[in-house]
Amino acid sequence: MTDMTSTAAGMTAAATPRLKSWSWTELLFVAPYLLLYVVFLVYPLGLGFIMSFQYFDLFAGQAEFIGLENYQQLFSDRIFQGAVVNTFKFVIFTVPTFVALGLLIALALNRQTWWAATLRTLFFASNVLSVTIVTLIWRAVYLPQKGLLQNFLDVFGIQNIALLQDPNWALQAIAVTTIWWGIGLPMVLFLAALQQIPGEIYEAAELDNASPWQTLWHITIPSIWRTVVLVTIIQIIAQFQVFGQINLMTAGGPNNSTRSMVQFVYEAGFRQWTAGFASAAAQVLFVIMIVAAGLQFWVSRRKQEF
């Protein structure tokens, strides 16, 4: 795990030593993958772009070019605007918590004891479960009247909590589920970064009588700043595409309060079967994702701190 960040190194092709000769048959090494790449990634990407300018009847298989109409309809669509807002809200609810909580857990568990190892195992465990299992668990937790949360709140005399049915709380409830599901990843990324900090720095700080807060702010966080930025971007990319939890826990409701952009694409494409319109929405999502991915590329290729 200590080695993880270095896999990103040396990616420029020019750095590779070259053999002079090559033959056509040797192209068979890259041919299978390139074929799959073109057919199932590049081609659909282009097709989606074209479809976004079409009115599409998936069942009749007929397409008609309608220019920018899908985009015009999209940007004036109240539900799409709401989906964009909900998606940003969801990112704001989850990403800072992922970063702060992930770092907190990593700081506490960055030691070689059996209990720290056990807790690391525990925090990462939910990460390997599929979204359907996670939502099955958390829908049961949030169940009105008989859910775990209600059971717990009964002790304090708070009654009739139905978070997923409440437009003011449903998105936050899904955010909590998401954090429970995904906290393991930021935790291990921070742990890997913390282990890279040389111990001598801390010894020096101790000699200077630095307080724990001073040590955290002036030594630990600056030393792992690159990882903090990286985790933030990784989480923004991941949470921006939130879909499964929402589709399974609220299906975008109540009152459209949890509909995300991917959920919108899914419903437009596969519930209303308006493929052109859905493609237009997917293009908007794609552009935002490209910007975020470019940012990630830029950060992860930078070796020095900033």
Binding site: Y43, R139, L185
Partner: protein, 279 residues
């Protein structure tokens, strides 16, 4: 002075204590649903707190074996996941070696174009992908479930980087013996890449096992469902359902294989997931 020497372990203790409490909170939902899965569902309807006391029963698990489609979904998931994992590793090793060692014209450009694919989210191509398989009349087949998952560039990226790090000299001797390029790859270079292959295999397996959106769209017939989609279909009416114990037994049954695998291969799982996130 004295206050500072005490303050340091104090804040440390508060941090550790809060993380321990957090860990307990993290575990409670899991323990609770395992408890539910061993309870008679009707008893839970009368009193949800019944989960905290005897009697417990295996009847939900017995029902699962008899009435549910879980066996079929598990089989489908295994077919899709294992095939995808084997193919991704094989194809990525070949392509990775090609990009690392064979100096065909335009290689760097092609490689950069492939790397750019890392930025394409699955969700951006889902609508056209569905249309393609619809045109080919291939939905509700294993090919449809498997093929799109082979196009992601992460494996090629990983293997190319790994092969490049292997010194060229190792292959020189074999080259003098006029061995074919494939033999050099197969007998000399590939065995050195086993750690990277393991990382890629684990990541692909996990990713494929837990995939939700594509199987949801492509497999519409219950006999073609994977576990994730099948479980999604059964939980739609959880609010009205009186079978809470039964549903939770399903969750436990479906989640257990991954959790067991995780506990045995924890180091590799963590490395694979973290490595894929950083890229």
């Amino acid at each position: 002075m004295a206050s500072k020497t005490i303050a340091r372990p104090m804040s440390e203790q508060i941090l550790v204590a809060s993380v321990v409490i957090l860990a307990i909170a993290w575990m409670v939902p899991l323990v609770w649903i395992v408890g539910l899965s061993f309870k008679n569902s009707l008893e839970l309807v009368v009193d949800p707190n019944a989960v905290f006391r005897f009697p417990y029963t295996l009847e939900n698990y017995a029902d699962l074996m008899v009435t549910s489609n879980l066996g079929v979904w598990l089989r489908n998931t295994l077919i899709v996941t294992v095939t995808q994992t084997v193919l991704v590793v094989a194809i990525s090793c070949l392509a990775g070696y090609g990009f690392a060692r064979i100096d065909f014209p335009g290689r760097n450009l092609v490689f950069i174009l492939v790397l750019m694919g890392l930025a394409i989210p699955q969700h951006a191509v889902i609508v056209p992908l569905h249309k393609m398989f619809n045109d080919w009349q291939m939905h509700n087949t294993f090919q449809a479930l498997i093929l799109p998952g082979l196009a992601g560039p992460f494996g090629v990226f990983l293997m190319t980087a790994y092969f490049r790090a292997i010194p060229l000299e190792i292959e020189e001797a074999a080259k003098l013996d006029n061995a074919s390029r494939f033999r050099i790859f197969w007998e000399i270079t590939l065995p050195l890449a086993v750690p990277a292959m393991a990382t890629l295999a684990i990541f692909t397996f996990l990713h494929s096992w837990n995939d939700y959106l594509w199987p949801l769209i492509s497999a519409t017939r219950p006999e073609m469902y994977t576990l994730t989609v099948g479980l999604a279909a059964t939980q739609t009416n959880i609010d009205q359902s009186e079978g809470l114990g039964y549903l939770m037994a399903q969750a436990v049954f479906a989640g257990l294989p991954m959790l067991i695998l995780y506990i045995f291969f924890q180091k590799y799982v963590v490395r694979a997931v973290a490595g894929a996130a950083i890229r």
